[in-house]
């Protein structure tokens, strides 16, 4: 019977030393980045192969830029066979939106934009007291998915970002309400991805699941991938709030007692201007950023995101509702 798979393999064990037999075998020369790239391309192709109408969430942020780069590689020399979707909070950095549009133009992609501002203007959503719009993105996102009849949604989420994301499958089912049920996830076995679902449901797919922030930056360096300039050190007018440097802009003004300073900063994450903080950094090149990230003692979200500080389970709660 197959359970006793190989009776000829005799174990040699020594409990007191922990020594075990040498294992022979040919070893791959592929690097860690090669493995991660191969896995991500596999995920993208598999979702495209199995589903009818995939879409890729593209904000111009570094993770979505890397994901799109992998999608281009997956189908070259054919064009990327799906559109990209952006939920625009209305508080995005103008230079990131410009980068988004230039990228879409260069690759000949179709861009779908769902604007949170429209939802606020016509009363479907109400501005929060704290002015933060990240949590407001969920309803517009689910609407855009339903409207486009998208059945597979690629996201740039990584498991190392946040503890709720650490529990996420690479291909993850969303129910008819777009909700994630972390207690009832499908087993994900070997490299056999299963994006099948009933009509009305959809799946989220995360090709970068197993990448860390440092992997992303090393890959950006290796592949010479262009990013919005604000990921690199630059001078900016900022003020201190909740232990973060917030940019002075139309949606983030200093309150009384908050001093504006001109500092050399860069962004580790790029999201809503009103809740994404900059970090003090002299790292002006990709190599310098790689070195800085490798030595960092704070996580990227811990350093830069006010919305994750709302509660212990802020991300889990947003994800269950259908957030990215």
């Amino acid at each position: 019977m197959s359970l006793t798979l190989d009776q000829s393999t005799r174990a040699r064990h020594d409990a007191t030393t922990g020594e075990a037999p040498e294992v022979s075998g040919r070893h791959t020369s592929l690097s860690q980045l090669d493995h991660l790239e191969a896995e991500a391309i596999h995920v993208i192709r598999e979702v495209v192969g199995e589903l009818e109408r995939p879409v890729l969430l593209f904000s111009g942020g570094k993770d979505s830029v890397v994901m799109l780069h992998l999608a281009v590689k997956a189908f070259w020399p054919a064009p990327v066979p799906f559109p990209v979707l952006h939920v625009d909070t209305g508080h995005n950095f103008p230079e990131v939106l410009a980068f988004r549009d230039a990228t879409v133009e260069r690759l000949g992609l179709r861009l779908v934009v769902e604007k949170v501002q429209d939802w606020i203007d016509d009363g479907r959503l109400r501005e929060r007291a704290d002015g933060t719009r990240n949590p407001l993105q969920t309803q517009p996102l689910l609407h855009a998915i339903a409207q486009g009849r998208f059945d597979g949604v690629f996201g740039g989420g990584r498991r190392d970002e946040e503890k709720a994301r650490a529990k996420e499958r690479i291909v993850s089912l969303r129910d008819d309400f777009g909700q994630w049920d972390p207690r009832n996830q499908r087993p994900e076995l070997w490299h056999l991805l299963n994006p099948r679902h009933r009509a009305g449901q959809h799946v989220r797919a995360f090709p970068l699941s197993n990448w860390t922030e440092l992997d992303v930056w090393r890959y950006i360096e290796r592949e010479e991938i262009a990013l919005p300039e604000l990921y690199y050190a630059h001078e900016r007018d900022v003020f201190r709030r909740d232990g973060m440097w917030l940019a002075v802009g139309p949606w983030s003004q200093p309150r009384e007692g908050e001093q504006v300073e001109r500092r050399v900063v860069r962004y580790r994450t790029v999201g809503d201007m009103s809740c994404t903080g900059a970090v003090d950094s002299p790292a002006a090149s990709v190599a310098e950023v790689v070195a800085e990230v490798a030595a960092s003692t704070l996580t990227e979200r811990g350093a830069t995101r006010a919305d994750d500080r709302l509660s212990e389970a802020a991300m889990e709660d947003r994800k269950k509702e259908g957030y990215f």
Partner: protein
């Protein structure tokens, strides 16, 4: 800046409830400096709020609200850490209900399973079950962490007894590499650093073992490349490629592929030769598992998603085979069930023609059965609607593996391992 770690080790943890697994994982991450300041601060804050004196390291991995409320781990969590020697992907698999399901998920891609036992309790039914799953899935290495070693009176003889019992079970299952380490996750003994509290143990710490295990062993069997997508840009060609470009995108499950190699397409049996190989827009001369590449062939033959490119004469497609199943669903499997089966990139219909046996995990032998239930492991005979190039799982962890899927809602029901 140090050079990028060269290798990646995938490990899965397993254990019974209250073995201290989350604490061990937290300790491993903490002592290897993988927990950053803001994460540790959050753990300390929550620990303080609960009236604990020290930081409860289990809170590092138990991230869901319900997990924190109940003090248990609910679902597989993935963690990443690196030392100067290598990078690690850790799948932390819960020990309670759905344990087989979670352990199978974590172990199916693992290079090593770290199995926890409580030194005071020794080898339990769940320990046997986890060892059986590791053997079944052919995980190359198992490390037995004998935890709470600080809580037993005669630590050395307790450790030796537990280790000997586990070794006996492992031998019976055909597990070729199991090593035991006495640890205290709570105090950090032999987790990252060797402990002075266990002078009778001369071996390496858990992290040292994880750093020195051989990894990245190529599945150097014969070439298998399941085709995921056919790439035909036609009018929309990018970057100077041929207008009549026709490529096959897929990942090498095993073997290597070079320009000029003859290949056979399964199940059709048609043959051609590799004309060019691409990794994105970069032309390459050779591809190795597990790379994702695009293949151009010399001949225009009918190939579509689901077909497999194989080394000539090394594979045959079949419609009938027997398999071991790990049944992972709440519903039961009975003879005559009609399901979907996904093998490589092909999904076909299947009928369960017969149920041969179910594994009794206490006695580790097989008994006749007429159904498989959640967490059961059993052997079945399958008939599939189209021929598949299956290989015995004992030969390949890729072409010997498949999923059973519920055709009504798409849910994954079972992990399948081709027997013969």
């Amino acid at each position: 800046m140090s050079a990028a770690p060269a290798t990646l080790l995938r490990l899965a943890t397993a254990g019974s409830v209250d073995d201290g697994k989350s604490t061990l994982v937290g300790r491993l991450l903490h002592d290897s400096k993988a927990i950053l300041a803001d994460q540790l601060e959050a753990v300390e804050r929550v620990s303080r709020d609960r009236g604990l004196t020290g930081a409860d390291l289990a809170l590092v991995t138990d991230g869901l609200r319900a997990e924190r409320e109940q003090g248990i781990t609910i679902d597989v969590a993935y963690r990443y850490f690196a030392t100067d020697r290598r990078s690690f992907v850790l799948a932390d698999c819960p020990g309670h209900v759905q344990y087989t399901r979670n352990t199978v998920t974590g172990a199916s891609t693992a290079d090593v399973v770290v199995l926890l036992v409580d030194a005071r309790k020794g080898v339990l039914e769940q320990t046997r079950r986890h060892l059986a799953v590791a053997a079944l899935l052919r995980v190359p290495h198992v490390v037995l962490a004998v935890n709470k070693i600080d809580l037993v009176d005669d630590a050395q003889s307790t450790f030796l007894t537990v280790a000997a019992e586990a070794h006996e079970v492992a031998l019976g299952l055909g597990l070729s590499d199991l090593r035991a380490i006495p640890v205290s996750a709570l105090h950090g003994d032999n987790v990252v650093d060797r402990s002075t509290s266990t002078p009778w143990y001369a071996g390496p710490s858990l992290l040292e073992v994880l750093e020195m295990l051989p990894v990245g062993e190529v599945d150097d069997g014969d070439l298998r490349l399941p085709v995921q997508v056919v790439i035909r840009p036609q009018g929309a060609v990018r970057g100077g490629a041929d207008r009549d470009f026709r490529g096959y995108g897929g990942r090498l499950d095993s073997g290597t592929l070079r320009v000029g190699d003859p290949v056979e397409v399964l199940p059709s049996g048609r043959r051609s030769t590799v004309r060019r190989l691409w990794l994105g827009d970069r032309e390459i001369a050779e591809a190795v598992a597990p790379q994702s590449v695009t293949v151009e062939l010399d001949d225009e033959i009918d190939i579509s998603r689901g077909d497999v490119l194989a080394a000539v004469g090394t594979a045959a497609a079949r419609r009938e085979f027997s398999a071991t199943l790990c049944w992972l669903a709440d519903t039961q499997l009975r003879p005559g069930s009609r399901l979907l089966l996904k093998h490589g990139t092909r999904t076909v219909n299947t009928i369960v023609r017969g149920l041969r046996s179910r594994l009794d995990l206490d006695r580790l032998d097989h008994e006749p059965t007429d159904a498989l239930s959640l967490n059961d492991i059993g052997v079945v005979d399958l008939l599939v609607s189209e021929p598949l190039p299956v290989t015995a799982y004992a030969v390949s962890r890729h072409s010997g593996a498949f999923l059973l899927i519920d055709p009504s809602d798409g849910n994954t029901l079972a992990a399948g391992l081709v027997a013969d």
